[in-house]
Amino acid sequence: MSNPLVDMEKPDVIFCIGTNMTECHPVAATGLKKAVARGAKLIVADPRRIGLAELSHLYLPLRVGSDTALLLGMAHVIAREGLIDEDFIKDRTTGFDAFFEHISQWTPEWAETITGVPAKDIETAAMWYGSGNKGAIYYTLGITEHICGVENVQSLCNLALMTGNLGREGTGINPMRGQNNIQGAGDSGALPNNYPGFQAVTDPEHQAKFKAEYGREIDLEKGITKVTALELCGDSIHAMLIDGENTLISDPDREHCEHALRSLAHLVVIDIFLTETAELADVVLPATAWGETDGVCTNTERRVQRLRAAVPPPGDAKPDWWIICQIAQRLGFTGFDFNTPKPIFNELCRVSPIYAGLDWDRIESGAYQWPVPYKEHPGTPRLHEETFVNGRGIFSNVHYRDPAETISEAFPVWLTTGRRLQSYHTRTQTGRAEGIDYLLPEESLEVNPVDLERWQLADGEWCKMSSARGSINIKVKATDRSPRGTVFASFSFADVPVNLLTGSGYDPVTHTAELKVCPVRLEPL
């Protein structure tokens, strides 16, 4: 997030797109609710009539996968109505003239034909966002889990740049991170393109720095993403070390994924449960869980916080860091002689410019948000206040693209997937928490009541849902939350493996799967 969580109460205009925040980030959503109670305008764009849509002043029910078109239409209106921030554009950005020219063709009327959202509502959304003093954008995987995830994010950046809604209280572009330490995992360098602290591996200076740190030369070329690695399993990838991820259930196209993992010569899984993924491993190493491990995590607003152990682990379970050190030592790798997590985190701080001012003791109360470039630095709750890290903000002349697969005679229904309030991801944790079943005992397919008859389905009955990759059986639930022609299910329940169906395509840059769009066919059982 460019802005801190406390800013969520501050905007005049809030634009939420592709984020089911009341279910997936409920505590963050309370900030938005307070802003709305205070008088802020809330615009919500989502194919489904989610909880946030019910709270909104303007709801834009766009067709799944049409975000870029909607955002181009909004940019067109903002420019046409002169709602741009000329000083901000002149002082802080580059490429506006070409962008201005580019968006002149993408009218709201054109966007209506793609998105299904009435042109007048697109105009209203643009007018509100463009004329607010403090406009804030919030998004989640509804923006990124598309083949055009990059264009979607760039489109949101265009809106913020042209209106100067960056670097100030109550503004910004704010992606909500979905896992407790997914930000920290990226910060720590667990990425094929970046060393710790987002230092590009393709920069020879960084290569030299880490050669000095780690005692060996590391490729100047980017590595491959996990998606590519899975595709190459058994081909050029033959061994994998997976820490705490139930790849088989959470990733798209389960059959492909299972085949990939099975074709490895060597699979080692570190986890707290014998997950579906661990069951395929050659070696399974039991890790300590939350509450049993001292460590550090970083949240969605870049706040670096301490995790503390309170109870002993079961049996012989060991911390993840200890396990990795032990394997590394057996392979003769140097730099893995750690006995506690503290020096590991301090090493991460030492090699990462964004953490350079931090150490284990300084983060005791969680007071710092990175970047913290040196010891006396107060931290950076708000990014881009004076300048952008890379100089000037760049406008992107994006084009709308259809999803990888579009509905057809064979697969006439849009399936979109996501999460629910009461369960978390593949339920390895919430599925083992007593009482949660009372609130959410099983998965169901959310279908618009009008569509039931059209597809000969009945509320509460089972149906067969098929995509180009496979079929599953799922119980039908009639609800107005789903628009006509689009159905929704979460991937949380192992007995309703929705990710057998998904996996139609990937964003070519980020390799994020298009989990939000999957044409399917529904048949009564």
């Binding site: 550090v296 379970a317 944790q429």
Partner: protein, 362 residues
């Protein structure tokens, strides 16, 4: 120009909009409250925070009275303390019990603490019990023990103001006032999201953490009034918001979760997962021993030495046979940063490649 007033004969400064209670608390004055939660709008219901204000005919509620320049306030006089004691006697007298398990909620001991401070005997006034328990609500998380309710409305207000859910309502008036949901139904049929904020703000334990109580009484055999619960500050293990929580433990068991009222990301708020879905940690399904696949194709329990040797041997072999670009590492977005850092170091320092990723693309 700074605004000035006097509290207990001391000159104090304040900013416009501050209440007498907020200023007094800044100056470490102990003013008793029951309906006050600093996160919520002042309510002025319990009247315990009354103070003497020069020029006013009657004492005023410190929580709802905004300071004005020149005010002269006394927070603790014999008259004021006598009023407070009488008010507390009446509150204590109409409750079935005052000593409740601290597992009921973060603030559950507030009434008992004030009773002790004001040296009130439980039987000094005996009033009729005013609330009716909602015994038919079979939800597993929120105990609705309204016989302990004192109508402070903190639950109603936290649900409306903090959560924006408006699931909790007030039914009837006066003595018959009853906290409930729409149509006096079950919580699961209301707008309730089971975030647990109502049980954490309740000052008497009328709304309590049913899950913690159930586990304490059955599996852990902890008496309900057991007081020695340990607290460890940590961060919720679910989404990326990073809410601070206090993990409650007893005899090496996790017995519940309290939201951290001073948590920088959540300021006391939590959701149903962070509040109630903690027991996966000590679930019997947890892996306790390393496993290695045997010649029979099955996973078998083994020692750490054996498992680590086999783990390392596999990587050595693949590296020797297929080269360093045949090994791939996937770091967790769930484990601490030390694990992710060492995973990338394992790949980079060990194999000299960038064949490393985390689980953020799915």
């Amino acid at each position: 120009m700074k605004n000035k007033m006097k509290i207990d004969d001391v000159d104090v400064t304040f900013s416009v909009g501050e209440t007498i209670l907020e200023i007094a608390q800044r100056y470490q004055k102990e003013i008793p409250t029951l309906c006050y939660d600093p996160r919520l709008e002042p309510f002025g219901g319990c009247r315990l925070c009354i103070v003497e204000l020069e020029g006013a005919r009657n004492p005023v509620a410190a929580c709802t009275t905004q300071a004005t320049p020149g005010m002269v306030v006394r927070t603790s006089t014999d008259t004021i303390e006598a009023y407070r004691k009488t008010l507390l006697e009446m509150v204590v007298g109409e409750n079935r019990e005052v000593d409740v398990s601290p597992l009921r909620g973060y603030a559950a001991g507030e009434l008992a603490d004030l009773r002790d401070k004001y040296e009130i005997n439980d039987g000094s006034i005996t009033g009729a019990i005013s609330g009716t328990n909602k015994v038919d609500d079979d939800n597993p998380f929120i105990l609705r023990d309204y016989e302990l309710c004192i109508s402070c409305y903190r639950c109603v207000r936290v649900c409306a103001e903090q959560e924006g859910d408006h699931a909790i309502n007030v039914m009837n008036r006066g003595f018959h006032t009853q906290i409930t949901t729409e149509f006096d139904g079950l919580l699961k049929d209301s707008a309730c999201t089971f975030c647990g904020q109502c049980i954490q703000t309740c000052p008497t334990g009328a709304l309590g953490d049913k899950k913690a109580l159930r586990h304490a009484e059955s599996g852990l055999q902890i008496p309900p009034t057991e007081l020695n619960i340990e607290k460890t500050r940590t961060i919720c293990p679910y989404c990326g918001v990073g809410c601070s929580v206090d993990m409650l433990t007893k005899n090496e068991k996790i017995v519940g979760i309290h939201p951290a009222m001073d948590g920088p990301a959540n300021q006391g708020a939590l959701c149903v997962k962070g509040q109630f879905a903690y027991d996966f940690v000590q679930h019997p399904d947890r892996l306790k021993t390393p496993l290695v696949r045997g010649d029979d194709g099955e996973l078998h329990e083994t020692t750490w030495e054996d498992a680590l040797d086999k783990a390392a041997e596999g990587f050595r072999k693949v590296n020797a046979t297929h080269g360093r670009h045949s090994v791939y590492g996937v770091a967790s977005g769930r484990a601490p940063s030390e694990a992710a850092y060492l995973m990338q170091k394992f790949i980079r320092a060990g194999f000299g490649t960038n064949y490393i990723d985390n689980c953020s693309r799915a």
